[in-house]
Amino acid sequence: MSEVILKGIAAAPGIALGPAFIMDKQEIIVPPRAIMEKEVPIEIARFEEALIKTREEILEIQKRISSEMEVEHAKIFDAHLFILEDRTIIEEVIKKIKLEKLSVEYVYSQVMKKYAKIFSNIEDEYLKERVADVDDVGRRVLKNLMDETKMHDFDQITKELILIAHDFSPSDTANMFNKKIIAFATDVGGKTSHTAIMAKSLGVPAVVGLKDITLNVKNQDDIIVDGTKGLVIIDPDENTKKTYIDIKNRLLAIREKYLDVKDLPAQTKDGQTITIMANLELPEEIPTIQKIGASGIGLYRTEYFYMNRVDLPSEEEQFNAYKHVAEAMVPHTVTIRSLDLGGDKFLSSLQIPKDMYSFLGWRAIRFCLARPDIFKTQLRAVLRASRFGKMRLMYPMITGNEELKLANDVLNEVKGDLRKEAIAFDENMPVGVMIEVPSAAMTADLLAQEAAFFSLGTNDLIQYTLAVDRVSEKTAALYEPGHPAVLRFIKVTIEAAKRGNISVGICGEVSSDPALVLVLLGLGLRELSMSPLNILQIKKLIRSVAMTDCEKLTQEVMRLTTGRDVEQHCLKRLKELAPDFVSYDNEMRGTAA
């Protein structure tokens, strides 16, 4: 069979080769649970609800498919409805719940198993194939009946494999750490979907938005996931396989080479020390971050708590996570960013139309100030955790002093409450501001009077400065980190921080760009925060250049007139200044098939 290449969205970089393991097709584990007599009607009602919900799901899929594909395909779902609403099954389940006093999910799974067996014993090819339909319907109903965290047993995974699913939920996450999952691929999702976040924290490649990979791949199929280019290759040809194995080996060799700097300081050849911190998404990443020797957390994103769930996270849940991170990182600083929802990150528990919190809309600090109930819960959790380590707090998307004051008013209110309740917290926890809006950069001198530190959020700063939606594919080429306007805003911010005698760092993706990071250093930045994946490579680079050269490069670059010129000049000088430096990213991007 010749190879099949599927194109999706590159969600986490890297390359993996291995067998496919399709999660949606694995057996769901349902332990028996005894119920009391009075629970019988409840179980039956749950059963009816699940059947109705499943019916709606199937009709929805059928509608979608019949408009996209041939009608024949949609007919499969007629069979599914037949099975779902089969009276014999329904009556048997209800009878057994009453008789055996066991939970509906257990009884249902047993009944469905029985019928799947009957089907598979029938000597008719057509009906034999319907076993898959019985399984599929059973799975859908069980999903609607069960707590998803208990549906799969990841402990049984003992071999390296590539996990494939329609989508992954946060409840899958907890089960996946320390397992032999080498890549992810999903039908749906975007760059900020849960799968992407999870893959990045696990340090494995992921491709999402593949539309129908779950239909194209079979369990144990040989596949390649190219998370850098957003490709999945099914049954790769020998040549393709060889190309990818070569790239993978080269990457491993480079990684190996980076490892020798993990315990060394990020110091330039002329003795300037740079603080390299990690951007943190999930507490589970801490061991990796410690292993590569990061000097703290420069950005702890907290959106994770709020996304992909139906309720709001409690104060206790947040407190426990923040405390854990603060304690684990001692003696280093942990910089928590208050809730930054909106733009490309949505709050699943609040039914707000997506266009309402576009990049220019009701998001980040604006949202928090409008919803003090949600904001205060988070601030309480942060403050309570602050005494367990070295914690800092920063607000996202501040546009000027007014907003900073409003946010601090809420913070002070919460502090007052805590004092009244005699709950201890760090009274001196520094509170800073993210500089990611042009108005904040231009008034950085004013903000420096009120803020304890700045953190340049360049991902947003670039898009707001250049009026480019960073999520839109059509304008992607206009998103230029090296644009003179962006560099000038960064420069203004650094200078204002220096004059105001406060610290300034950067947590955008630019800080891990080997060419541009030299300019950031030349502009005076001494604190970089980036994805843990990039830390060793940037440290290696910093150790191979002199600050005087970075400053000289920066002077040259600040005279250039276009973003493209800036980037090209930086790349050229990077090769001269650090001829031995091999960029991990370029290696992955440049040579792949």
């Binding site: 069979a79 037949f82 089969d86 009276r87 014999t88 009556e91 019928y115 009957i118 000597e123 009906l127």
Partner: protein, 90 residues
């Protein structure tokens, strides 16, 4: 309410397996009447494919079909036709 019962010997080559079973259910579900199929001691709901398949009715087996409801007569006619045609589906 009209109620009818009839003994039918299956003539279709595949018995009441496979596609004939699916067709049987499809026909039964078009009508409001209640329908049961009995083979010996076993009796199942005629509107349930799972039920019919568990009967395991081969070609030549005799079934007792009972219909109960306003449109029972028409339903019984259609079901009989399905089961007694030599080869209704290929």
């Amino acid at each position: 309410m009209p109620k009818f019962g009839k003994e039918i010997t299956i003539k279709s080559s595949q018995g009441l397996h496979a596609r004939p079973a699916a067709l049987f259910v499809q026909i039964a579900n078009k009508y409001n009447s209640h329908v049961t199929i009995a083979k010996g001691e076993e009796k199942v709901n005629g509107k349930s494919i799972m039920g019919i398949l568990t009967l395991g009715a081969e070609r030549g087996s005799t079934l007792f079909i009972e219909v109960d409801g306003e449109d029972a007569q028409a339903l019984l006619g259609e079901l009989e036709e399905l089961l007694t045609k030599e080869s209704n589906i290929k």
